[in-house]
């Protein structure tokens, strides 16, 4: 059994190497598919982590009118506490809002000193659970708060965050669709390249068939050849991804410093890499199988 396996791998490698001109072609198509999928996973993972982080910070702010009465304030607070998605409420007074502004924008601080009175409203800053209830319930809450007496304005971050998430979902599905097409193209290329190398060795295949070699024995090396193309293609793609990230990372973080923490982009996990290589080998295996089944027959 082990002997048979090394025979397949040896012969598969020989066949791959003899047809390396064409093998490069299928190797590259696989590499492109794995590259796109890998990029998708890296960017998607980063986007998900970033959005999670944003979701955890304050999302719902209720600004109070300067003339809001204590009763109106507590009515608003009660309404907020009644919502299960709300996990925390920070009360920010007018003075605190002013102090915060002066701290965050020291350049503009002198301007505020000239203002006759504090222009900043008091507010409730509400934290929502990351996996909190449906956006629709929160939308209703925000709308209801806006009409309550004593409320000047309601800012609800979750709305555009939701839009961002659904945009992300859309990009993801387009990406997976593209990957599926690329995988199909790669599988077809492998099939054709393996058929080409079987054609180059048709005499040998005919002889082995006539001598009575088991069909698995004849086809095995070519299936292996497909797997080698897949595996090497995936390794090539991962290498390109890694190098590309190392080269692009400094530029990206310089470009978008502050907005996104691009320095924190993580490369694929070992499990994900192993999965990609295994998947590419499976695609190569499939391509090799189709070629071998069609080309080598007992009669």
């Amino acid at each position: 059994m082990i002997g048979g396996l090394t025979y397949f791998v040896d012969e598969g490698w020989t066949s791959f190497w003899r047809g390396r001109g064409a093998s490069i072609l299928s190797l590259l198509t696989i590499a492109i598919a794995v590259f796109v999928l890998g990029l998708l996973l890296i960017v998607g993972g980063h986007a998900r982590r970033t959005i999670d982080q944003w979701s955890r910070s304050a999302e719902l702010s209720v600004y109070l009118a300067d003339g809001a009465t204590p009763d109106e304030r507590s009515a608003v607070e009660r309404a907020l506490r009644a919502e299960p998605a709300v996990i925390g409420i920070d009360v920010v007074s007018k003075a605190q809002a002013l102090a915060r502004f002066r701290r965050d924008f020291p350049d503009l601080a002198p301007a505020t000193a000239q203002a006759p009175d504090n222009p900043f409203p008091a507010s409730f800053e509400v934290r929502l659970g990351a996996s909190s209830a449906s956006g629709a319930a929160l939308d209703r809450l925000a709308a209801r708060l806006a009409t309550m007496p004593g409320v000047a304005d309601v800012r609800f971050d979750r709305r555009w965050l939701d839009r961002l998430v659904s945009l992300g979902e859309f990009v993801r599905w387009v990406g997976f669709g593209l990957t599926a097409i690329l995988v199909l193209a790669a599988a077809l290329t492998v099939t054709n390249v393996v058929r080409l190398s079987m054609h180059a060795r048709r005499d040998e295949i005919e002889i082995m068939t006539l001598v009575g070699a088991p069909m698995a024995f004849i086809r095995g090396p070519f299936v292996c050849e497909g797997m080698i193309q897949g595996g090497l293609g995936a390794v090539l793609a991962l290498g390109a991804l890694y190098a590309g990230m190392a080269l692009a990372a400094p530029h990206l973080s310089a470009m978008a410093a502050g907005l996104f923490d691009l320095g924190a982009i993580r490369f694929l996990s070992w499990t994900a890499m192993a999965g990609l290589v295994a998947g590419a080998m499976a695609v190569g295996c499939l391509g090799g199988l189709v070629a071998a089944w069609r080309t080598a027959r007992p009669r």
């Binding site: 040998e204 002889i207 082995m208 006539l210 001598v211 009575g212 088991p214 069909m215 007992p298 009669r299």
Partner: protein
């Protein structure tokens, strides 16, 4: 060993490569299949190695009905029969030794035994000194002896040969025939197709003649 009954093989509509052929070859026999070019000799042998299926009729070899064989069975059957072809059919990128040993390898014979038997049979065809050569480095006669060694190494009950001397000059042809006679003396059933009547005359064995796909001279 070979029981052929009412065998016909038609290509397309009109061409009948074999037409109602009935032939019996007993265990341990040596039979020549002869006839002019186009008589149907190769077609008959292709059917006997499972490369082609009869249009009608029955072919039984060593108790196995060939038309009933599934693909995996065809390969198993082929491992029990030896074949020799006019164009030798050696694998160019394998050495003489590897070409012969391959027939044992696919039987799953242990490694040491593969080597021992391969060496023995190469010695029998007189090519033990060329074991590491590649087919292209050998003469036609030598290549055919390698092919015969490969056909015989797994001790088949039956050896089939299609024009095995077709590419060789007459003296070499006789040498090759001596190998077939020798294996037949060891008990192997041999069926050789050849159009070379002079060769048949010199070897002197039972001869079955085909003409236009029919048995011309039943024996």
């Amino acid at each position: 060993m070979i029981d052929i009954d009412g065998l016909s093989r038609r290509y397309g509509g009109a061409i009948s490569a074999l037409d109602d052929v009935t032939l019996h070859v007993g265990r341990g026999e040596f039979v020549f299949l002869t006839g002019p070019s186009g008589a149907g000799k190769s077609t008959l042998l292709r059917i006997l190695i499972g490369q082609e299926v009869p249009t009608s009729g029955r072919v039984v070899v060593d108790g196995k009905d060939l038309s009933a064989l599934k693909p995996a069975d065809i390969q198993r059957y082929r491992r029990t029969v030896g074949f020799v072809f006019q164009d030798f059919k050696l694998v160019p990128r394998k050495t003489v030794f590897e070409n012969v040993m391959f027939a044992l390898r696919i039987l799953g014979v242990p490694d040491v035994q593969q080597r021992r038997k391969t060496f023995q049979v190469l010695k029998w065809v007189g090519l033990q000194h060329r074991a590491t050569a590649y087919p292209i480095e050998l003469s036609g006669g030598e290549q055919q002896r390698v092919a015969i060694a490969r056909a015989l190494v797994n001790e088949p009950v039956l050896v089939l040969a299609d024009e095995p001397t077709g590419n060789l000059d007459p003296d070499l042809a006789i040498e090759i025939m001596d190998l077939f006679r020798d294996m037949n003396a060891g008990g192997t059933t041999v069926l050789v197709a050849t159009h070379d009547r002079e060769l048949i005359r010199r070897v002197g064995r039972r001869t079955v003649a085909l003409d236009h796909g029919r048995i011309a001279r039943p024996a």
